[in-house]
């Protein structure tokens, strides 16, 4: 919940929708609801009006722990010089290159 939220404002929820069976749930937005059941109901009404989903998750925004954008470089840059983690790093003879 944002710091400025007033006490009588419904809490904020994050909505995740699985577009069809076999795929991941993907974050698609947020909404306010009094409780979890209402959040699911509203998420259906708001985010799946055109067959966008077959399953919905909701989680209170306040319960999400996120990495600090200030730490972005420290956290994620080290992966930049580890090109050997990618299959394309390795040049193989053309006869076996489909490996």
């Amino acid at each position: 919940m944002s710091e400025t939220a007033t006490p009588n404002e419904w809490p904020l929820w994050e909505v995740f929708v699985r577009s069809r069976a076999g795929l991941d749930h993907k974050h698609c937005g947020s909404l306010h609801a009094a409780d979890a059941a209402m959040a699911i109901q509203l998420a259906r009404d708001v985010y799946t009006r055109r067959l966008e989903g077959s399953s919905v998750w909701v989680v209170k925004s306040a319960d999400i722990t996120a990495s600090d954008p200030g730490d972005k470089d420290m956290y994620f840059d080290p992966a930049e010089d580890k090109v050997y983690r990618h299959p394309t790093f390795y040049t193989l003879p053309s006869e076996v290159d489909h490996m």
Binding site: S2, E3, T4, T6, N8, G29, A34, R49
Partner: protein, 342 residues
């Protein structure tokens, strides 16, 4: 739709809009990083550092955009019970429901900038925040509903598509979702008018023409004042909030609409409308900007009615919001009081 916020900024009295001097070297570095990211065409996320004025400008634009979606439900909502067929009624309900959804996406984007939903609604209900001038015009006949879809939503699409590339990512994401749904709005409107023009009576055709006559000029105003009278545009462009100028978008809208009007069989109420082969665009007549500023300033045909309706809906719903919250708290307290499962 409806991003007049930046254009009306200078007219609403002196604000605290002037940028503050950057103070510390740390802030200077942050500012440089921000500028560089904007220059690279990169996105700014909610928790990234941003200049205070960027935040304020966005908050103002996104919240006004959200208010416009919500107030925009009213003129069309008027016609749900009077739609001529069950099909048109179902379509209209879906459209009005979409507008409510669009308002929600946009409020959520604005909330990421550090304001609450209640604060934004207070600003709307107290008259402090504005919404698009277009919704202060009345919907007098059924043809107005189709005309809103065709022209108002058509103008909105022109306006909104460039915002899908807005530098503020939560706003851009909301716009992508909205634009995807908006095309249905325009097409259903045109389709409804087409039925009246092709299969309708003379009276119905006259009704369509009358609606077009009334909505045409207010629709051209939706794009905001001419570029040379839009002092905040340059900053908006610099920040990647505004991508295309008011006059460019307006011209694009006129050029696209002329052919649609011809196919529909209506005339656009502008004697000066004519093809300019040299420019490769349609020339059009002067817009009555006095009317625009009058409507923005609160003196349009329906300003008071729209706001009163919004406030009443909010006030009438208060007990539902309170009851839902009380119920949720009671359930949570009960769950907390129960001993841990054996």
């Amino acid at each position: 739709m409806y991003t007049q916020a930046m254009d009306t900024m200078g007219r609403e009295g002196p604000g605290d809009e002037r940028p503050k001097a950057v103070r510390t070297t740390e802030e200077l570095a942050l500012q440089q990083r921000f500028d560089a990211r904007i220059d690279d065409g990169g996105f700014i996320e909610a928790k990234d550092w941003m200049p205070e004025n960027y935040r304020k400008t966005l908050l103002r634009q996104i919240s006004q955009h959200a208010h416009s979606e919500i107030v925009g439900m009213l003129p069309e909502g008027n016609w749900i019970t009077r739609a001529p067929t069950l099909k048109r009624k179902a379509i209209l309900m879906a459209k009005v429901q979409d507008e409510g959804g669009h308002g929600l996406y946009l409020y959520a984007a604005a909330e990421t900038l550090g304001t609450s939903r209640d604060q934004m609604l207070d600003a709307l209900h107290s008259g402090k925040a504005k919404y698009s001038s277009i919704f202060n015009y009345p919907t007098l006949s059924w043809a107005d509903v189709g005309t809103i879809g065709w022209l108002v939503d058509g103008a909105a699409i022109m306006n909104q598509v460039p915002i899908c590339r807005c530098s503020y990512a939560p706003y851009a994401r909301a716009m992508i979702r909205i634009c995807r749904e908006e095309s249905f709005h325009q097409r259903q409107g045109y389709d409804s008018l087409l039925v009246m023009m092709r299969d309708g009576s003379d009276a119905q055709r006259a009704m369509v023409q009358d609606a077009v006559n009334r909505w045409w000029w207010p629709c051209l105003m939706m794009f905001g004042p001419p570029d040379d009278q839009s002092p905040n545009s340059a900053q908006g462009m610099r920040w990647g909030i505004k991508r295309v100028s008011n006059d460019t978008l307006r011209q694009k809208f006129v050029d696209a609409t002329v052919e649609q009007a011809r196919v529909l069989g209506v005339t656009l109420p502008d004697p000066d409308l004519k093809w300019n082969a040299e420019r490769g665009h349609w020339d059009f007549g002067c817009i009555d900007w006095d009317e625009f500023w009058r409507v923005v300033g609160g003196d349009g045909p329906c300003n008071r009615e729209r706001l009163a309706m919004r406030v009443k809906a909010w006030d009438d719903g208060a007990w539902v919001r309170e009851a839902a919250l009380a119920h949720a708290r009671k359930q949570a307290d009960r769950a907390a009081a129960q001993p841990a499962a054996a």
